[in-house]
């Protein structure tokens, strides 16, 4: 169903399915509201007091009725629970091949970086019909990335990555709101998501302010910050090689294994002592406070690239 009064636009693949559940619960709500209201009105008129001394017979209650009206709501909420949860889980993970965009929230703006290097503020350009995954973090406090037309929302937390994904199904400009109160101009932390035809998107990426790609920026930081001195590609340096590492399990000195994901890479940059790769000494200095969130994002983008392109055969996990 679409185009009802007081219905927000459906502009993503999940919007329709979320709305279907929404309408189902609305139907349940309306049904029971009218049921209760009409029974009450009926009883209040039918059993109104006719004489002041009236003493109606006591009714204890009724076990079958109690069971009935425990069972029916239980059944209905079970349906809603299963429906809502499965919908949520189906959409919890982005499909493979989703394009990735980095989003950084700060009081009171949204900063967006496309892997190709295009940057924008309070605007997010995306192509129609392609799944888009946002990797989000905050520079200060908790914000929340909310696009009503896509029915997606996720808090953006400092010191941590969260993500959401959507696949736009409609061209146009849609509201982007901050939905987690973040101080004085919380209401001003709004922007728009602009959905373009894929070729228009390509044109947009190419045009405007030319920035270098995130990987290229990351590579520069990798050199300038001295990462490349120790993280030698052939693994002979004092620090592990980063080739083929991203996305793969890494064994640590304490015997545990972690996956080298965004969070791990980020932590290793900011708090290197926390998880040392087996066979290496904890000698890396912390880069806490020396790199901006955007620089870290670029570094991660570069390390992803290293992970993708030249996987070392020895440690490669089969998938």
């Amino acid at each position: 169903m679409q185009g009802l009064p007081f219905q927000p636009e459906q502009a993503s693949t999940i919007a329709r399915s979320v709305d279907n559940l929404h309408f189902f619960i609305t139907a349940v709500t309306l049904f029971f509201t009218f049921l209760i209201f009409s029974i009450i009105f009926y009883f209040m008129i039918k059993y109104r007091r006719r004489s002041p001394g009236e003493r109606p017979k006591a009714i204890e209650g009724s076990l079958p009725l109690e069971i009935l009206w425990t069972a029916i709501p239980t059944l209905i909420v079970a349906v809603i629970f299963v429906w809502g949860s499965s919908l949520y889980f189906q959409n919890a993970e982005p499909p493979a091949g989703a394009m990735e965009i980095f989003v950084t929230g700060k009081q009171w703006m949204w900063k967006v970086e496309h892997p190709e290097g295009q940057r924008e503020i309070n605007e997010l350009h995306v192509p129609l019909g392609r799944p888009v995954k946002l990797t989000m973090t905050s520079e200060d406090i908790i914000h929340d990335f909310f696009v009503p037309a896509f029915r997606v929302k996720k808090d953006v937390l400092p010191g941590r990555y969260t993500s959401l994904w959507f696949q736009p199904t409609k061209l146009g400009t849609f509201h982007l709101f901050c939905a987690q109160y973040c101080g004085a101009f919380h209401a001003g932390m709004i922007g728009s998501v602009i959905v373009l035809e894929p070729d228009a998107y390509e044109r947009w990426l190419a045009g405007g302010v030319q920035g270098e790609s995130m990987e290229a920026a990351g590579q520069k930081i990798f050199q300038q910050s001295g990462c490349s001195t120790c993280h030698l590609g052939d693994g002979t340096g004092p620090a592990p090689s980063l080739l083929g590492v991203y996305g793969q399990p890494v064994r640590l000195t304490n015997g545990q294994t972690v996956t080298a994901d965004d969070a791990y890479v980020r932590e290793s940059i900011l708090n290197p002592g926390a998880k040392i790769v087996q066979g290496y000494a904890p000698i890396m200095p912390s880069f806490q406070g020396q790199l901006t969130e955007e620089q870290i994002n670029s570094l991660i983008a570069y390390i992803r690239l290293l992970g993708k392109e030249q996987a070392k055969p020895k440690e490669e996990g089969k998938k």
């Binding site: 919890a92 941590r160 969260t162 304490n254 996956t259 994901d261 791990y264 980020r266 926390a274 998880k275």
Partner: protein, 109 residues
Amino acid sequence: MSQQIVPVKTYLFVFASLIGLTLLTTGVAFLDLGRFNTVVALLIAFCKMLLVVFFFMHLRHSSGLVKVVLLAGFFWLALLISLTTADYRTRSWTSSPNAWSTTAPPTHP
């Protein structure tokens, strides 16, 4: 309220056990039991608590209601801790980027 007068000997015996357990828990800390160091320490603390509660605080002679009240306290504390850790423990089950999932090693390394 405890109507019974507990013999001094019982109190002294409980006290001696408490001291013994204190020395034990301190001693065990100097042994390498891996993750069991924490388990043993908490177990000993729990035993000490039971001794204090049952003997010094006369729970032994208290009404069932008081026992239920105390149990409710611990039950709710368990709810608070278990449901909170349910979040932290399951964050690493998804592959979406999630700093806390990997920042968090198991509670008892």
